[in-house]
């Protein structure tokens, strides 16, 4: 069911761990759904150029696909500028992993969400302008989290 590449990234994920003093930390997912991901970014500025993502690490609770997509996104963003990183889509991750089972596509979205959230935090801390697209995504992720918690509470009280 999983591609060879996905299994490789699950078994030997790249860039796992935390970054102390990270410039941006993004969290996505919810334990209620069984996936929780944290992504850490450390930026570096060389000369007058745009800062690039110098270090990136992740910590993920989730299925094999969640761990593989976490590993994949760290490979994909390393060395990129914020503008370039924001262009990475779930399809880029799926392609990078040589396919994901349809039922696991949401794991690639989890990785993108964590990246967007980390960038959002970085830009906010730097007091840099937030593009409309990113703001919309941030609001959606936040709302999604609240909805899940609401549904969970309802489910637990229904019993």
């Amino acid at each position: 069911m999983y591609s060879k590449r996905t299994l490789q990234h699950f078994r030997s994920p790249h860039n796992y761990g935390e970054i102390k003093n990270a410039d941006g930390v993004g969290e996505a997912g919810n334990i209620v759904c069984g996936d929780v991901m944290s992504l850490y970014l450390k930026m570096k500025k060389i000369g007058n150029k745009e800062p690039i993502i110098d270090q990136v690490k992740f910590k993920t609770y989730g299925c094999a696909a969640a761990i593989a997509t976490s590993s994949a996104i760290t490979d994909l963003v390393k060395g990129k500028t914020i503008e370039e990183a924001l262009k990475i889509s779930k399809n880029d991750i799926i392609e990078f992993l040589e396919g994901l089972p349809p039922i696991k596509i949401h794991c690639s979205i989890l990785a993108i969400d964590a990246l967007d959230e980390a960038i959002y935090q970085y830009l906010t801390d730097q007091k840099k302008p937030i593009l409309t697209d990113l703001q919309v995504k941030h609001n959606r992720i936040k709302k999604g989290r609240e909805q899940i918690e609401e549904r969970y509470k309802k489910w637990m009280t229904k019993k």
Binding site: F10, R11, I31, G34, V36, M37, C63
Partner: protein
């Protein structure tokens, strides 16, 4: 690398003695049990011998045993067959537990769509059904109560005798799915007040493709498969003679060796549980510690999601199952663990280990070591520290 199979609750390998007993019925004695010629009678006799063996094992009458193709079919027949046969008497209410196997849950949901009323019994944190709630829920329109005997995920064994007694007193049919418990817990349908009972061949070292539904004489039930009138008209379909012979042989072996075997299995299971709980921080045994199937262990690993654990264990040569479903679109993981009130982190990080006849102590000790190694590896990726 020889795999360590810890998934006997999913299915068991066939016992070589069972296979040997089955072989003649594929070729030399292949006839249809409904054929009147001598060959047909030989096949029919083999099926009847199996029926007799199984009946005596659960203290039923031979004619109260009906062969089906699977436990799923038996459970479908029990629920739908009883529901439809009694509907005209104004009986339209069914009670099941909230920790039934999917085939009971889905059959009851289907019946709900056909206009029946279905209630689900709550369970406590060990997985025992709420007996007081059962007493309150039974009304004059209740026709059937169905409660799983030994739970397939968490292994908790219900007090079937008591539930049966309550149902009998109130004049309600009682069905139990004993797919996991047959051979592990003594079953006496008379003493335990059971009206219908499901059991399966491939959980007891028999082949896939055979199961039974015990139906106490006098129970009103309708067939759900119509045709040539096999199984006294209750379950048409050409009898799967080799599989039925195999199931009979599997039960015969249980009758002779089951008691001793269960002691051995329980001892090994306890070594496995102790090894994991004592060596891996934060782990927890789900279900009741005592009233549980001798071969079952359901363990939560709070910092690791179940599928990841299963996959990595598989790479290391240990085969297990998970009740969690991170892939599912629904919010909830295992309905059994959630019904017991488990927190999501516990429910998502649970693994079912089930051992059996061919499990060795050496395998168990090796499995514990692999568990420690795999958990230590996966914990490095996890944001949760426990």
């Amino acid at each position: 690398m020889k795999k360590i199979y810890l998934d006997y609750a999913a299915t068991t390998p066939i016992d070589p003695r069972v296979l040997k007993a089955m072989i003649p019925y594929f070729s030399d004695k292949f006839a249809n049990t409904m054929s009147l010629h001598q060959m047909g009678q030989i096949a029919s006799e083999a099926v009847e011998n199996s029926r007799k063996t199984i009946a005596s094992f659960i203290n039923a009458k031979t004619e109260e045993i009906y062969f089906t193709s699977s436990a799923t079919e038996s459970n479908n027949l029990a629920l739908k067959g009883v529901a439809f046969a009694n509907r005209e008497k104004g009986k339209n209410h069914i009670i099941i537990s909230s920790i039934e196997h999917d085939c009971v849950l889905e059959s009851s949901r289907w019946l709900k769509r056909q206009g029946f009323k279905v209630d689900e019994l709550n369970v406590n944190k060990f997985g025992f059904v709420d007996i007081n709630q059962l007493k309150k829920l039974i009304t004059t329109s209740t026709v059937l109560v169905s409660v799983i005997h030994g739970n397939n995920e968490i292994g908790t064994i219900q007090d079937i005798k008591l539930i049966g007694k309550i149902c009998r007193e109130k004049g309600v049919y009682f069905h139990t799915d004993a797919s996991q418990s047959l051979g592990k817990v003594d079953i006496n349908v008379e003493k335990m007040n059971i009206d219908l009972l499901t059991a399966s061949s491939h959980k007891i070292y028999g082949p896939k493709g055979a199961a039974i539904l015990y139906i106490k004489k006098g129970v009103m039930i309708e067939p759900i498969i119509h045709g040539g009138g096999h199984e006294k008209g209750l379950r048409s379909s050409t009898s799967n003679v080799p599989a039925i012979v195999g199931m009979g042989k599997a039960v015969e072996i249980l009758q002779k060796e089951g008691k001793k075997e269960n002691k051995k299995i329980e001892k090994l299971r306890n070594i496995l549980v102790k090894g994991i709980l004592e060596n891996i921080k934060g782990t927890h045994l789900n279900g009741d510690p005592v009233q549980r199937l001798s071969n079952n262990a359901n363990i939560s690993f709070p910092s690791i999601e179940g599928e990841s654990l299963l996959m990595e264990l598989d790479f290391e040569g240990v085969e297990v199952s998970t009740g969690s479903a991170c892939s599912s679109r629904t919010l909830m993981p295992s309905h059994v663990l959630m019904a017991m009130g488990a927190k999501p982190q516990i429910a998502h990080g649970s693994i079912r280990l089930s051992i059996g006849r061919f499990t060795t102590e050496e395998e168990i000790k090796k499995a514990v070591k692999i568990f420690i190694k795999v958990v230590n590896k996966l914990k490095k990726f996890s944001p949760f520290s426990v």
